[in-house]
Amino acid sequence: MNPEFIKTICPYCGTGCGLILKVEKEKVAGIYPDREHPVSQGTLCIKGWFAHEFVHHPDRLRTPLVRKGDRFEAISWDEAILLAAEKLEATAETYGEDAIGGLCSAKCTNEENYLFQKLIRMAFGTNNVDHCARLCHAPTAAGMAQTTGSGAMTNSISDLAGAECILIIGSNAAESHPIIMGEIYKAVDKGATVIVIDPRKTAVAQNASMHLPINPGTDIPLLVGMMRHILDAGLHNAAFIQERMEGFEGLRNFLQSWPVERAAEECGIDEGRIRNVAEIYAKAKDAAIVYCMGITQHACGTANVHAVCDLAMLCGKIGREFSGVYPLRGQNNVQGSCDMGGLPNVYPGYQSVADPSIQEKFQMAWGRELSARPGLTVTEMIASAGKDIRALYIMAENPALSDPDVNHVLESLAKLDFLIVQDIFLTETAKFAHLVLPATCFAEKTGTYTNTERRFQLLRQAVEPPGEAKGDFEIICLLANALGLDFPYSHPGEVMDEIASLVPAYGGVRFDRLERAGLQWPCPDAHHPGTRFLHEHKFTRGKGLFVVPQYTPPFEKPDGEYPHYLNTGRMFAHYHTGTMTRRSPFLNRELEGAYAEIHPEDAQRAGIREGDRIRLTSRRGSIVTAARISQRVLRGSIFAPFHFAEARANILTNPVLDPVSKIPEFKVCAVKMEKEPHEDEE
């Protein structure tokens, strides 16, 4: 009868804030911030405060659906699981096992992701499993693994409050990771210098000590310019380099070709400012580099990450508290879904599928023959849909909005022989499915998420699923068993024990140890307290490695036909493809529809006023959206959030890929802008 208060974790971004759900009459009736939470300490952003609003939405999927022509019909779970198993098996038999692909999910728990990749790898002997981490921090995983041996944020969120200098590159944390921004302001209140590198005058930039509005896609010139000056001025940490690094000669030689003058010309920032910023960073006692999609979502994303690491290692500002490199992870469990092996080249714990001894270990543990050949990435699977890939199993992902060149994605999805989509709402992607499986949201499940600071955190079930919907955990087990595998799990804790037995770095992670404040990996044994910052005495790979960051300018630059740069990203009240936030009345009240930010001078030249309907067109397609005239964008640049199905910014974006990590160049493409007639004038 009394309301119950259930502690759990926010389902939105990778900060992983603590929520207390108020449950009344079997419904989540409200949210309070958790004052005891190690990260959020009693605060939340607007999305967290209203995260309960979509939970009981009438649009929630309540029963399995099967496509009949151009509509869906409800079927039973037995029929649905049988159909899924039969179709997947038949596809594998006809076209080979690599014709099957699976997208796991950064929205789901560690245990669900572990089981999902295990199912795909075991049942079909293929490594075609990937997810949207490909579209955000794949360059971080690849780049930081090369330089340090670990593709994760080096320090803890709370370390930011102790830094003297914080360099923020391509992150609008005030809108995308607001609680982490609060930690940065703690440093500011103690006198820290915050330097923001971003082509947009974001909310973060507006409140910074300094803002360097670089030309889009010129992060490497700026960073190597800084490094060159640090080297010339003798501000590098020679002892650290001598003792802990390798590859210094290569970097030094490379920097010879980047005098500060050249860097300045390329990135559009005054030479003196580059030198000044370099000195502030290098001279600070403790300095942190925070970065996000502005670094990674480029065709040179991995090289961008190399440049960030090189700078930190050149100054010895890594492997210590209050310093370090902070890639801010986007989704609530994108760290975990990568950790759990939701990637085509690695098993859980980043253990290479191509390494025979690792393959042997997993074959022994799982009792099946496994493939040593890395699978396809999400962008590759979508591109080859209907050709090499005939059937896809998508768990809680929405590529119909989130992937670049969406028109092409939709064509590809339509070509699949069989598409299974498992989700909580009928997403734009689910509309293409042959079979839709109704799953559960964060408030309806138990399991763990891993936040951006490597912290395993416990999610506690507060309410029952709607209708006949089942937890992703249970659905995967049902399907696996129907495919002839033995998935006997009854509780996620058993899965965590299995994970701990297969991944040394998570060896000490057990559910009962996570109850109070979670655990930060590496946590190798049952008595290990977890790790606040990485690389303390030695790098995960042994010595740190300087990797030469080869600069490639953005693939598309504005020209006569497409004269504007387009930049895409998030705004504070909505989240990714809007599946949840756009069904939250309070968040929708904040912003109901799509818009694009345009510089006042560009608007004036085109005769566009605030709120006018405008058409944006790139080489790949066009969208109609509303103009928001703003000084936040540079002259010649346009910013469009990608949350909106009715004006999909990703229709415009360029699918050109980073050669290493296969991330598309979301952050830069060329568009033209035209005023549209009012709807009633058409």
Binding site: M1, N2, P3, F5, K7, I20, K22, E24, K25, A29, G30, Y32, P33, D34, R35, E36, S40, G42, T43, L44, C45, I46, G48, W49, A174, E175, P178, I179, M181, G182, Y185, K186, D189, A203, Q206, N207, D512, E515, R516, M571, F572, A573, F586, R589, E590, L591, Y595
Partner: protein, 283 residues
């Protein structure tokens, strides 16, 4: 103090004075969270720390509980004052709420810059002396002295606002429906930061005579805006001019609503802190 609170809670439940007691529970694995205690054995796990304001939660618990349900709340001074204000404003039925008043420690009082770190009805613990927030150096920098410089400081701090609505959501007295801060006429939607005047000052002025300085807003602010200081000058004006403090006396109505005829006489000099942000009138 803890033992005494447990004894009172148990007797309230045993004697059916209350159907539930809202307080903090320390559960398995030392997890601390709010909880409605409704059986005697659970009360063993009751704790009093950390400071966790419960007045607003109490109001929502009462709203969704069956008619006649009586709730006891473990209150600090500020929580008690908030419940008094809510009762005065007909948000809580007086005979459905009981309190178990606890005193704050010296340390807590100085963290909160609290003038009255104890409830009027004190059931457990020793009341410690309060402090004058205007004696705090950081607060003085925000509230006293050169106007334009302070204006700059406030504008700078308020520009951090990420518009989480946490200050409003956590405030025990912010209960208006509809809320002015959700009115597009006043607060532009879809952009951050929220405007200084139309968001922060509307909120501050709406609470001018009800704010009990509990600090829930400031505790909930992810970007560390000193929101309590924003209210202090108005609270101080009411205290000095009208002898009024929100939440102290359940029978005493706000002078802003009822005592307008007691306005300071024409020509009476206002103390300088009343003119908080504008230009100082030197005459």
């Amino acid at each position: 103090m803890l033992q005494k609170v447990k004894d009172i809670a148990r007797s309230m439940l045993a004697e059916k004075q209350a159907d539930g007691v809202l307080g903090l529970i320390r559960g398995q694995w030392d997890i601390i969270q709010p909880h409605v205690f409704d059986n005697l054995r659970q009360v063993d796990s009751l704790v009093l720390e950390p400071k966790w304001l419960l007045a607003k939660m109490a109001m929502t618990v009462l709203r969704s509980s069956p008619e006649g349900f009586r709730l006891a709340v473990i209150v600090r001074g500020c929580d008690e004052r908030a419940l008094t204000e809510l009762t005065k404003r007909n948000q809580i039925e007086k005979d459905r709420i009981l309190t178990i008043g606890i005193a704050c420690s010296d340390e807590q009082a100085s963290v909160c810059l609290c003038r009255r770190p104890y409830p009027e009805k004190l059931d457990a613990g020793e009341a410690v002396a309060g402090m004058d927030p205007f004696q705090d150096e950081t607060t003085r920098e925000l509230l006293v002295g050169d106007g334009p410089a302070r204006m700059e400081k406030w504008a700078h701090l308020l520009r951090r606002c990420i518009k989480c609505y946490g200050c409003r959501n956590s405030c025990p007295i912010c209960v208006c429906i509809p809320c002015k801060l959700e009115d597009e006429v006043w607060v532009e939607t879809g952009v951050i930061p929220a405007e200084m005047i139309s968001y922060h000052l509307i909120r501050a002025f709406h609470l001018s005579d009800t704010c009990v300085a509990c600090g829930a807003c400031q505790d909930a602010c992810p970007v560390h805006i000193p929101l309590v200081a924003l209210q202090l000058s108005m609270r101080e004006a009411l205290r000095q001019v009208y002898g009024y403090e929100a939440g102290l006396d359940p029978e005493k109505r706000s002078p802003i609503l009822y005592d307008l005829f007691k306005e300071p006489a024409a020509g009476q000099v206002l103390p300088d802190w009343v003119n908080t942000l504008g230009k100082r009138d030197e005459s």
